[in-house]
């Protein structure tokens, strides 16, 4: 499991251009989803995890794989099913006859990029194993705590349409995801291009890396250095608090959400080549960062669309409404 940077990868000192290179690297395969790709990179730079919600076959896995390949990192893929157990994910102790003891064999979680397909299909018990790993960046097996590699990015997907045989993630667990991406349909021309490229054998696994994992750590560190002005913090705070006072929302976003919002805004500023966050950064991230944490009141859900799609739509509308209804403070 070598994460050494191949010679083809370029090493750059400027964090903004490195981050943009990562975005372009993913875009070599994932077409017509610039915004989604940027959000993915933003979340990764902010040391967050990503939940991609869309119908099957819309390129969720392609995006995650392309991301891993652009980093030259191993991408462990877990297909979440109802009978998946926590140990299958975290790894477990195996009897080693030579050492006459149990030896810990790491599970798929011990890869820098983990892709969990259809997270909502697995049992709550396994889900919580994932979520612990996401938050703690460590797993505990047989009383021994094992640190996960750094960087560690978990990309989970879920299908919003099928409700049959799923365990919907509770809000408290959704809260662990920094960003939820709703990909949505792509245009006809873009779809034709994707078909051509895929037929020509342009596989995401075959992508050459554009960034080493160590560079990604550097980028994450640079992201934390992006300046957050008082006014920017005010705006993030107001937006988050507005979710708790809005009468159309049963339960709003917590302090973790506010923190994530600011961190993602820092990442977005870095991606934009700035050393400071602007209110626009915060506003642009309200829907992807806050929407999936909101519980809309019953009468504001769209009962006519099936599954969680209606809920998602309601959440995104509410979050978008918050942006328009919250004043941007302009002061030093």
């Amino acid at each position: 499991m070598s994460h050494a940077l191949p010679e083809t990868a370029r090493s750059t000192t400027d964090p903004a251009s490195a981050a943009r290179a990562l975005v372009e690297g993913i875009e070599r395969v994932v077409r017509g989803r610039r915004q989604a790709v940027e959000l993915l990179v933003t979340a990764v730079l902010a040391r967050g995890h990503v939940l991609i919600e869309d119908v099957p076959g819309s390129g969720k896995t392609t995006m995650a794989t392309a991301f891993a390949a652009s980093l030259g990192a191993d991408c462990a893929r877990v297909q979440a099913t109802a009978d998946l157990l926590p140990a299958d994910v975290t790894g477990s102790g195996m009897w080693d006859p030579a050492a006459e003891g149990f030896r810990f064999v790491p599970g798929p979680l011990f890869a820098p990029v983990v892709l969990v397909d259809e997270l909502n299909r697995t049992s709550p018990r396994t889900q919580s194993a994932f979520l612990e790993a996401m938050e703690e960046r460590a797993v505990t097996v047989d009383g021994v705590r094992h640190r996960l590699p750094d960087p560690f990015v978990l990309v989970a997907t879920q299908n919003p349409v099928e409700q049959h045989g799923t365990y919907p993630l509770p809000e408290g667990q959704l809260d662990r995801f920094a960003v939820r991406l709703v990909l949505g349909p792509i245009g006809e021309d873009v779809e034709r291009q994707v078909l051509r490229e895929q037929l020509a054998g342009n596989r995401p696994e075959a992508l050459s890396p554009v960034l080493a994992l160590s560079d990604l750590i550097g980028l994450q560190r640079a992201t934390t250095q992006v300046h957050v002005a008082e006014a920017t913090l005010d705006l993030a705070l107001r937006l988050t608090r507005a979710t708790r006072t809005d009468p159309r929302i049963v339960s709003g976003a917590g302090t973790r959400a506010a923190l994530t919002l600011v961190r993602c805004a820092q990442a977005r500023a870095l991606l934009g080549g700035r050393d400071h966050v602007l209110p626009e950064d915060v506003q642009a991230l309200v829907v992807p960062v806050l929407a999936h944490r909101l519980v809309p009141a019953e009468e504001h859900r769209f009962a006519d669309s099936p599954g969680t799609a209606s809920r998602t739509l309601a959440q995104e509308r509410l979050a978008a409404g918050l942006v328009a209804g919250t004043a941007v403070p302009i002061h030093r």
Binding site: A229, A324, G325, T326, V328, H331, R332
Partner: protein, 692 residues
Amino acid sequence: MSRRSGTSIEAASIEAADPYVTHGAGRAVLVPAALAVLGAAWGLVVTGGLPAGGVATTAAGLGLAALVRGATSSRSARAWTGVLAAGAGAVWLPGVVSGSGVFALWPVLALCLAVRQFASARSLREVRLVLGLSVLVVLAAAGVSPVAALVGPLVVVWSAVLVGFAGAVPHRVGGAAQRVRTLRAVAAAGTAGVLLFLLVPAGGGASLAGGALGRATASGAEERASAAPRSGAAYAGGDLDLSSRGELPQTELVSVPADSPGWWRSAVLDTYDGRTWTGGPVASWSSGSSQWSAAGEDGATGPQRVDVVEPVSGDYPALLSAGAPGAVSSPGVDLRVVPSGAAAWLGPVGVPYTVTSSETPTLGSSVDSGSGAGAAPVEEERWLQLPSSLPQRVRDLGVRLAVGRGPVATARAVNEHLHASARYSLDAPVPAAGEDAVDAFLFEDRIGFCEHFASAEVVLLRSAGIPARLVTGFAGGTDAGGRRVFRGADAHAWVEVWVPGQGWTTSDPTAGAQLVAGDRPSWAARAWSWVQRTVTEVLASAVARTVLAVVLVGVAVGAWVLLRAGARRRRSRTGVADAVVVRRRGDGVSPSVLALLVAWERFDAALPPERRRGGAEGLSAWRARLLTPAGAGPLAARREELGAALAVVERACFARRVPSRAELEGAVATLERASSTVLAAARVAGSAGARG
């Protein structure tokens, strides 16, 4: 603060969190305001619009107001204090009305109002009203009587008002851009004022102002236009106007024996009215067989002497005598003596004559008590006359100099005082109309020539109750071949003081007076005088005034263009200036940033509503919306500049480092220009709409 936002709760919290509400009046504004009011009161006192106690009551009122301001913030307490303080000033009103009429009331009322306003002023706007009132009062004072003494009050009031106004504008922060703007405004206003002055024909005001300003300088070139020229006739028995100025001719008039006394008298003047000396005859002339003889001159008891006076040119009409004249004759000529004012004129003019005089003793000579003169002159009242308008300080000075001294010692003391306090110059300032010439000479200008020295001595001695009189004639002269020749310029005025037991005694205070600056005026004085003459000549011709106005406009436009180019170069140079690290002190924000935010707020407010920043709109988004090439409207010409300025605003709010001061100030200037552009366009559109 007009910010639209999603909810009223938001708006309220924005209002509450607004860090720059700075309309309160602070010490930086109140101190200049108090000074301005005090200066205005002083100006009123100086011009006689208010008794001297007015300054004291004003100061007391201001002090009381300041105390109450410091002690309480209760509005009613301050208001009542203001009424009280203004009432203290109002005690002078009846006196003012009885002294100078009802119209003299309003400057005093304005002053009282200013004091009252000062006590209750809470906002900068109210302080600005105080400053404005002070200016009005001092202007009224200048309009009433532009005297030289107004210079002090004017300087105090104007500087205080400038400082006060500079500090009394909310959100205004010092800085290079601010200073440049102020300078620009002052320069523009000054240019406009001079242009108006040049292009509008002057009424009487110009000469008044010229008089007031010119009197501040120790040079009289300009007001000599308004002062009567000096004439030799004044020293030959005519009225002596202390306001006349100018050189007397160097024409040789008469010659007298070289061994005769130094002072040759032509007339004695007795009555002073604050500006002019007049006189009547002191002796009665009667025609005898071969000569005319004088009788009745009082105290003429000195030894007799006979001198021959030869006219050099034929235009000096008055009889000259080396003391009190006793008789005059001219052999072979039918000579007539005609009393003329204070002198005796001879007819025909231009013939040599022999005059018999009794010598007048001088202060230096020992008192000859055996001469038979009484303790007082016969017409004592005549020689003690003083105008009722004579300021009290002159009288007080005379009394003070005479305390414990006899007439001779007093005269000496007066001479010493004059030598110590005044200097000699023919170019003395002219007293303003209505001003007492002696008072001005003694206490304000302290520059004069023989007339003033002598007048001052007479007035001071008379104030002390010592009879004295002004004598005109000749002194000095040029010796030539056993004769002494008097020229027109040798005309002189001196004093005769009554010494009991000796009679009239000559005292010449001019002798030994310090010259202003040597014989010749200094080069600076000459240059100043040349400037004044040139200005007067230019102002006298309409063509020259117009040409000057055109030149001035050209210079102003040229300077403006140059400055703009320089500023643009500087801006392009300082685009990469070092940023200033802000040290956050609590919630302290650097003033330059505040100024920028205010300029931005104003610009936002100047825009039409649909183009203002939405409450939930970030600056970048707003900038993009505002400055689209199609939709920039009147700002199209400034798009790039304005975009850069808004970027500076954004960085000032959100970046780690505050932009450099130069950038901040440049952005402030840009935003203010953009506001003006928008407002002007709106006005044009509005008026067009009104027409349509």
